[in-house]
């Protein structure tokens, strides 16, 4: 099944063209984190400190993905 991906700030440099990715039924955020690290090993350090949001809600590593989930990868924020 496919999920949609949104990248922001520094993480965009690692996945410039990746808008969706195929995951398996039952895969959670931790699986996605591993898949993205595998796709771009140089992203490992920033992925480790990034939060993930599904449909605009921050989720934990054990959150299970569903078909069509919109997943945002959020590097450490720096507003203000």
């Amino acid at each position: 099944m496919d999920i949609q991906l949104l990248f922001f700030a520094a993480i965009k440099d690692h996945f410039p063209d990746l808008k969706k990715i195929e995951v398996s039924e039952g895969d959670s955020i931790i699986h996605l984190r591993e898949m993205l690290t595998h796709k771009s090993p140089s992203s490992e350090s920033i992925l480790k400190v990034s939060r993930f949001a599904v449909n605009q809600v921050i989720v934990s590593d054990d959150f299970v993905l569903r078909e069509g989930s919109v997943v945002a990868v959020l590097p450490p924020s720096s507003g203000g």
Binding site: F8, R51, I58, A72, L74, P75, P76, S77, S78, G79
Partner: protein, 145 residues
């Protein structure tokens, strides 16, 4: 006591500190914090900044932070607007306003709001330097995710 609502907490237009106070007769203390683009960061001369936000989520999170502040303190007014896009030196990046009967609540809640906005809300800052280089701010690392 109602908190003034705004339609959006994320703005691509310049921000200005208003000389007009909210029209709330019970209000005895009003605090405004403005975060300003400065020309120096960690020893490097900065020419300008660019702020990026996951706008719909950032807007909702700021709304929730303001609501939390209103639960913790007895506020008559609370608002926060954060700028996105290209900002020049001395432009305002963020404004937080709080108003209450007494000053203590206005001061404390204002600090609470800006600290949470800075640490939690999906907004990122890219710094551009005089030497032509640029860099995303490392930001605040979260203990859990």
């Amino acid at each position: 006591m109602s908190v003034l609502e705004t339609s959006s907490h994320i703005s691509s237009s310049p921000l200005f500190v208003s000389s007009e106070l909210p029209d709330i007769p019970e209000m005895g203390g009003f605090v405004v914090f403005s975060g300003i683009v400065r020309n120096l960061n960690e020893g490097k001369k900065v020419t300008h900044l660019e702020y990026e936000a996951y706008a719909p989520m950032a807007d909702e999170m700021i709304r929730a932070i303001l609501a939390d502040a209103c639960k913790k303190w007895d506020l008559l007014h609370a608002n926060c607007i954060h700028r996105v896009g290209k900002l020049e030196i001395s432009e305002i990046a963020v404004i937080v306003e709080t108003g209450s009967i007494h000053r203590a609540e206005a001061y404390e809640s204002n600090r609470y709001i800006i600290d949470r906005v800075k640490h939690e809300v999906p907004i990122w800052k890219k710094e551009f330097y005089f030497d032509g280089s640029s860099q995303w701010s490392k930001g605040c690392v979260h203990e859990s995710h």
